[in-house]
Amino acid sequence: MAQKILLDKINVPGIKGYEVYRQNGGYASVEKALKMTPDEIVEEVKTSGLRGRGGAGFPAGMKWSFIDKKSGKPRHLVCNADESEPGTFKDRFLMEYIPHLLIEGMITSSYALGANLSYIYIRGEYMWVFKILEKAIAEAKAAGWLGKNIKGSGYDLELYVHCGAGAYICGEETALIESLEGKRGNPRIKPPFPAVSGLWANPTVVNNVETIAAVPWIVMNTGAEYAKIGIGRSTGTKLISASGHIKNPGVYEIELGLSVYEFMNSDEYLGGMSSDRPLKAFVPGGSSVPILPANLIYKTANGEDRLMSYESLSDGGFATGSMLGSGGFIVYNDTSCIVRNTWNFSRFYHHESCGQCSPCREGTGWLEKVLHRIENGHGREEDIDLLWSIQAKIEGNTICPLGDAAAWPVAAAIRHFRDEFEYHVRFPEKIKNRDHFVEEPFEKVKHLIAKATV
């Protein structure tokens, strides 16, 4: 059994409530932290090597050390619980089943940052989880873990949960801050970074739920112990949301460095494919990261075992690799149509673009439109190059990473599955049914493209 630090107590009956959580060692990290200096805690988190679990993987301790303490302005910690990346549902699981772990992490982390007013920004669709968190905060406050002079330490903290209202873009930290200020979720131009000018122009740190939930363990067991878990610069454990054509979908806590093969096939984890249909492709880190074909899943291009780590999943760059991202692990068997799936992702990004930057606002619309016509049998031979050209013009040309996130899945699909796009263009009569590869997987009809080539 691999070590678990976030979900180790998830099966304790009643762990959702304060009493049971406390009896099982809950809030001990707050007691310990209040006897340490804030800088000591920041050092522990730096030593741990903990990286941002929302997708970008930026070292959390370093992010914390950037917060402006000189200006004397109030500081804030904002937890990003706007989990909306397709394929990702880990934060919801954690907040729903062990809400006090997040509250405890928020208190300990707020103390380390010198924040006296902190927020958890949760997506509006998770309304029942919003209410679970409100209840947990009230319980923590009643027990003296929040409010003025916490446990006689002289430290004050107010913590509130704030809900969004349906906008993927608010997962981007500056859009999230705008939204928390009661505005549209338009990302801000950086710099200034939130660490200097964030919520209400005050120094702010925005961290993912899973990142904050790891802090209590680090405070209790030291950063050095945390850094022993995992592999290389991928320290600690990671929550993986597994979905698609697998036997056991769900949320798993793994030690980073586990092999993709073992994660996919062992009964402790995904248990292999859901049916006898073979593995065709996978997306390891949420819809934004490149999709990989079967031959690049278990081994990297140079024949090494592919591991569940930031480095191994991105081995080979975008040519033959992908990214760990948010840990949204989506598996496709051979009944899936890559063109249809890519169109689906593009529709998502078009819908979710905030509309501020023209390359993203217009480009995501064109990607969706061109993919839609290819998938519906109206594609043209030159459309594949057109798609390539559109995505290349979005990438790197927008204020926030949503543009890149919209471009990458399209680029990867063309890079690895170009023949499938060609098939759609050349045999429109064979893709009329939306489930066209269910009866006749692409492998069986692939030979037609070779014949049709002039």
């Binding site: 989990e83 909306s84 990346e85 397709p86 394929g87 990702t88 549902f89 919801r92 729903e96 007013l117 997506r123 509006g124 669709e125 998770y126 309304m127 029942w128 209410k131 679970i132 409100e134 209840k135 509130y160 704030h162 809900c163 969004g164 209202a165 349906g166 906008a167 993927y168 939204s179 928390l180 200020e181 009661g182 505005k183 549209r184 979720g185 209400w200 949301s241 597994a242 979905s243 698609g244 979908p249 769900g250 949320v251 819809s287 949204g328 989506i330 496709y332 009944t335 899936s336 249809r340 799936n341 689906n344 992702f345 529709r347 998502f348 819908h351 979710e352 905030c354 939306r434 489930d435």
Partner: protein, 184 residues
């Protein structure tokens, strides 16, 4: 009659709703009342047949002390605010990747056929709306939909039949108060 042409709405800010609004306002510094806008709009919408008319948005602006346009621009940006009347029970199907590969499109067709409406429309009796939305973060339990505060997961045509029946019988719980033990 197309309900979407109705633009007037009876506004009723009850004492309980006003108390909740004031509680939400207290979560932010006194000079940052606008920050409470999103949570307040959720509460106000829930109390007004799940939609926001211009009059209602004006009322919210007045309560918070901001300009009406600041409310309109927010309400029109976020998908969860309904700017026209919708059915009492809105089935919001997730259409993104995992739900799509698990057959949500066929399931939406099934639901629409059963209710005799198209996606995005409301039944003539005002009971049901069927809507397609983007990823709801339940990919491992696909296909799924949201109904009120809750998620209904691993859907099948039989489960849809049951849900429709339960809605008609008034047996569907739409809001969670943080106390229910949710198991799936």
């Amino acid at each position: 009659m197309d309900r979407s042409i109705r633009i007037h709405q009876d506004i009723n800010i009850t004492d309980a709703l006003m108390a909740r609004i004031n509680e939400l306002l207290s979560h932010y510094p006194d000079d940052k009342r606008k920050s409470a806008l999103l949570p307040i709009l959720h509460e106000v919408q829930d109390a007004h047949d799940n939609w926001l008319s211009v009059e209602l948005m004006d009322k919210v602006a007045e309560i918070i002390g901001i300009k009406p346009i600041e409310v309109y621009e927010v309400a029109s940006f976020y998908t969860m605010y309904n700017l026209k009347p919708i059915g009492k029970y809105m089935f919001e199907f997730c259409q993104t990747s995992c739900c799509a590969i698990n057959g949500v499109e066929n399931l939406m067709d099934y639901t629409c056929d059963k209710l005799g409406i198209e996606v995005g429309k409301t039944t003539a009796d005002g009971m049901f709306t069927v809507k397609g939305v983007e990823c709801l973060g339940a990919c491992g339990y696909a296909p799924m939909m949201q109904l009120g505060d809750f998620y209904h997961e691993n859907l099948t045509p039989a489960k849809i039949d049951q849900l429709i029946e339960d809605c008609r019988a008034g047996k569907i719980n739409m809001t969670n108060h943080g106390t229910e033990d949710i198991t799936r």
